[in-house]
Amino acid sequence: MNNILVANEVSKQFGSHIALNKVSLEIPKNSIYGLLGPNGAGKTTLIRIINQIIYPDQGTIFFDGKPLQAQHISMIGYLPEERGLYKSMKVGEQALYLAQLKGLSKYDAKNRLKYWFDRLEIGDWWDKKIQELSKGMAQKIQFIVTVLHEPKLLIFDEPFSGFDPINANLIKDEIIQLRDKGTTIIFSTHRMESVEELCEYIALVHKSQKILDGKLSDIKKAYKNNIYKVGLGVQSANGLLEDLKDKFEILSSEYVDNGLQLNFTVQLPSEDTGPFLSHLSGKANVNNFMETIPSANDIFIRTVQSK
C-alpha cells in the first residue's frame, strides 16, 4: 500500500451549496502533497472531512488502506488556517492539554514538549500566558502541538502565515525533516513559491471539483508548450530574424549588446527541436537555448481560468 490516504468520489453538500463534488485523491506515503485551489474551492471542506470534523455525504476515505475511523484521529496532525490558542492559559499547560487530547500520555507529552521547546529555542515560554506572546510565537506553539504526537499524516493549512521569513524558513526545514523521517504531509497554501519548493505532488481543486492532480514534475511536463528561449550571437542584423519569422513562430524578439546578440522566444510545433536547431546551424552561434517550463503559478492560473 503506497498511499497513506485515498479519497474515493467524496461529495459534500451544505444546504443548496455543493462544497465537494466527487473528489478523488491519492496521496502517496512519505511525500509532500500540495492541495491547491482558489478561495472557496472546497479545500477546507476536504481537509475537515479527512480530520473527521465533518462527514461526507457520499464517497469513502481510506487511511493507510482502511476506511477512515475515529481511531485514525491520533495518527493525523492538523494545523488549521483559522487557528488559535486559549488566551488565558499558560503555554506549557495548554500544549500538554492539546497533546493529551491527541492521545498522548501526560508523561510522553511532557518529554516531547521539552524536546520541541528546546529545539525551537522557546524553553523559557513554558509558564507564559498566550496573551503575552506575539502572533509568530503562538504559531510556533501551534506547530509543535500539531506535530507532537508524531502523526503519520500531517495537514498544514497555510502554515507560514504569521511567520517572519526567518521563522518561516525554520518551519519549512522542520517540515522537510518530518518528511524525511517518513511522515506524509498535505500542504494547503496560496503561496506558489513554497509549493514549487516543497511539493512533490499537487492536486488542484476548483469549484468543488478536482481539476488536476499528479506529480508536479509530470504536470509541468504536460503543461509545457514547446516554447524556447534562444540567444544567438550575430555579426549584424543580417535578415536572420526575418528569415526565422518566416519559418517559425517567433513570440518576441530583441537585439541586445549593440546588436551582437539576438534574444527571442519561439513556439515550436512539437517537442522535436532538431529541425529548428539544424536550421540555425551555420547561420549563427547559439549562445543559449532553454525550454521554458511553466511555474506552479502559471499552471494554477491557466487551469483555473480555463474552467
Binding site: 480530520n51 483559522e82 488559535g84 486559549y86 488565558s88 501551534q142
Partner: protein
Amino acid sequence: MGKLSLIIKREYLAKVRNKSFVVMTFLSPILMVGMLVLVVYLTKINDNEIRTIGVLNESHYFSTDFQGTENTSFVKLKDIGLEAAKDSIQKMGFYGLLYIPNEQDLEQVASRSFFYSKEAPGSFILDNLGNVFKDRLRMQRLQELGVSVSDFESVDNDYEIKTASFSGEQNLKGITEIKAFIGGAFGYLIMMFIIIYGGFVMRSVIEEKTTRIIEVIISSVKPFQLMLGKIIGTSLAGVTQFAIWIISVLLMVGVLILVFDIDPASLNTGASNAPGMIGGAAYVAASDSAMQLYANELFKIPWVMLVCFFMVYFVLGYLIYSSIYAAIGAAVDNETDTQQFIFPIILPLMLAIYVGFFSVFNNPHGPIAVGFSLFPLTSPIVMLMRLPGGIGEGGVPIWEIVVSILLLMVTFVGIVWLAAKIYRVGILMYGKKPSYRDLFKWLKY
C-alpha cells in the same frame, strides 16, 4: 484519562482559576450578608424615630387613654384654641395634633375627632390612634348592651377551620405557603444557576470561536464531547461555588451561636416553664406549641427526598438549558449578538418562577401548577415548588413526578441532539450573524 474527563478538568480549572470567579465566590456572600445587615439596620433607624403627638382633648373621654409607647409620645395640651394649638405644634416640630372636640356623647366625639399633621401620617400611627377610639366605642356599646368585657372576650375568639387529609393527617394554617416558599427557594436557585452558569458555558464557547482554537480541538475530539465536557466542567465549578457558600453559611451560623451564646434548645422550650402568669403565659405557651407544630411539620418535610429530587431536576434542567446556551454561543461570533437568542430561553424560566409564586402558592395541585410542573422547560422549577408538600396522598401524585421526569429526559435527549447539531455547524462559521432560519438550516447539514 479519557478525553471527556480531560475537557471537564480543563473547563473546571479555567473557570475556578478565573479571578472573577474567586471574587464572586468570596465577595457575594459578604455582600449579601452586608445588604441584610444594612436593611435591618435601616429599618431599625426608621422605627427608632420618636414621634411626639400633641393631644388637644376638649371632651370628657379619653383622659387616660393616650399613653406613650417606645416610638410615640403624647403631649397633652390644655386651654388653648384649635388654631393656636396647630400653630404651636408646628413651631415645636411635633409630628401631629390629635383634636378631640367636646361633644355630647362618645359617638359624636369620635366622629368629629381629627388628626392634623404636616405630612400624610404612616399607617402604623393611624392604626394606633384608631384602635384607641375603636376600643372605647366597643366598651361603651358593650356596656349599653349589658355585656361584661370578660364575657365579650370569651365570645370573641378566633376561629379557623382545621384541615386534614383523608388519612387523618392534620394540616397547619399557612404551612402550604411555607412549604411552597421552601420549594420556591429551590426553584429560584435552579433558575439563577441556569442563567449564570448557562451564560458561562455560552461565553466559553464564544471564546473558543473568537480565539480560533476550536478547529484545533475538534480535530482531536468530537464536537459533542467538547460541548458536554464544557457543560459538565462549568457546572462543577458552579457546584464548587455553592459548596463554598453553604459551608461558609454554616460556619457563620456556628460563629453566631458561639458569639451570642444562643442555646438552640432554649428557643423551643423557653416560655413553657413560667406557670405563674396565667394570662400572658397561656398565650405564649399557645404560640410556642404552634411554633412546635410548625417546626414538627417542617421536620416532616422529606428533606432527603427533596434534596434528591432537587438534584434530579437540577441536573436535567441545567443540562437542557446549558446545551441551548452552548448552541447559541456556537451560532454567534460575539456576545452582543446573543440577545435575540437568549430572550426565548429566559422566558420559560421567568414564567416558571411567576407561575410558581402565584399559582403554586394558592393551589399547589391546581391544573396550572400541574401543567407547568409537567412541561419540561418549566418543570424543574415548578415541580420543586410543589414537592415540599409531600409525595403521594396529600402531595404530588407519583404519576405526575414520573411523567415530568420522563418528559424531562426525553426533552433532554432531544434538545441536546438539536443543540449538538447547531453547535457542530456553528463553531466553524465565522463572520455572519445567523438568523433563526439559518439555525434551522444547520440542523439539516
